[in-house]
Symmetry: C2
Subunit: 150 residues, 2 copies
Amino acid sequence: MKLSTKGRYGLRAVVELAARQDEGPVSLSSIAAEQNVSEAYLEQLMRSLKNAGIVGTARGKTGGYLLKKKPEELSVGEVLRALEGSTAIADCVGTAEASVCENACTCSARPLFLTLQNRIDAVLDATTIRDLTEDYMEQKRRIEHAKSLS
Amino acid sequence: MKLSTKGRYGLRAVVELAARQDEGPVSLSSIAAEQNVSEAYLEQLMRSLKNAGIVGTARGKTGGYLLKKKPEELSVGEVLRALEGSTAIADCVGTAEASVCENACTCSARPLFLTLQNRIDAVLDATTIRDLTEDYMEQKRRIEHAKSLS
DNA sequence: TAAAACCCTACCGATTTACTCGTATTTAGT
DNA sequence: ACTAAATACGAGTAAATCGGTAGGGTTTTA
């Protein structure tokens, strides 16, 4: 049931973009440095986000990435689905009709999976990037404050 | 975020044991046949369940497995944790203190992961094996009924 | 026009998944 | 006592996935 690094890194990158929204395009290298992640790997994740229409890009010398949606209108679920492909806990409760297992109609666990999936999606779709960003910036401020005291 | 076959197969096996509780020890082969799963593989899963104290075993010729707990007192969460090791969505919100990532205190996603994990566990711990078993037997009856009509 | 960005595809080592196999042990019935 | 049927246990393994790297582009703009 674990989230992969794609989900974790990508989500944090989106939050960082949200936190730096008024800077104009944010370069890959600066995000990678802040998050302590390989630039080449993060670039792949940003591409997924771009293809999903979540981030936009500005090319050229002073280019970079920027959020295409308002943080308060972008749900965590949307971001994770773009990064991981799906948030489904089992194939038989995913959106893709293709991969329904043949035992579906007698599977004792399927009702469980369905309700579980619904609850998970409810949380993911109710939480927005703005929510995360606020927590993040709050935390950053606290750390800066603690440093200035020492 | 997907559940592995361990979780899925094992959970279904437990439900089957619950449904056949008054039969005495249920042999591995009969469970495997019903679930259409490899016997050797399922045996490993049963071992995990046994080590967790969820099922008991009777050895010898008429031996087999049986539920050690009442279905209404056995939560899905307990079963899944025995099978998968953990239901944690990320290492930093797992029970093991060991594997906390070093960025934990600045990670923008950690508050999300914590609430998400709580909600998931709430569902898993609130749902009992008895709940699943009832659905399962209901479904079985419907299928038998449909067959008898054709 | 060169530097700095984005774009794309292939590959790769390590780990995990999803099993299999062989052997040992236990026990009910004959 | 013997045997057939069942669990017990540990090792091994092929395939898939994860978590990246590498290195080639193309496009834009200071």
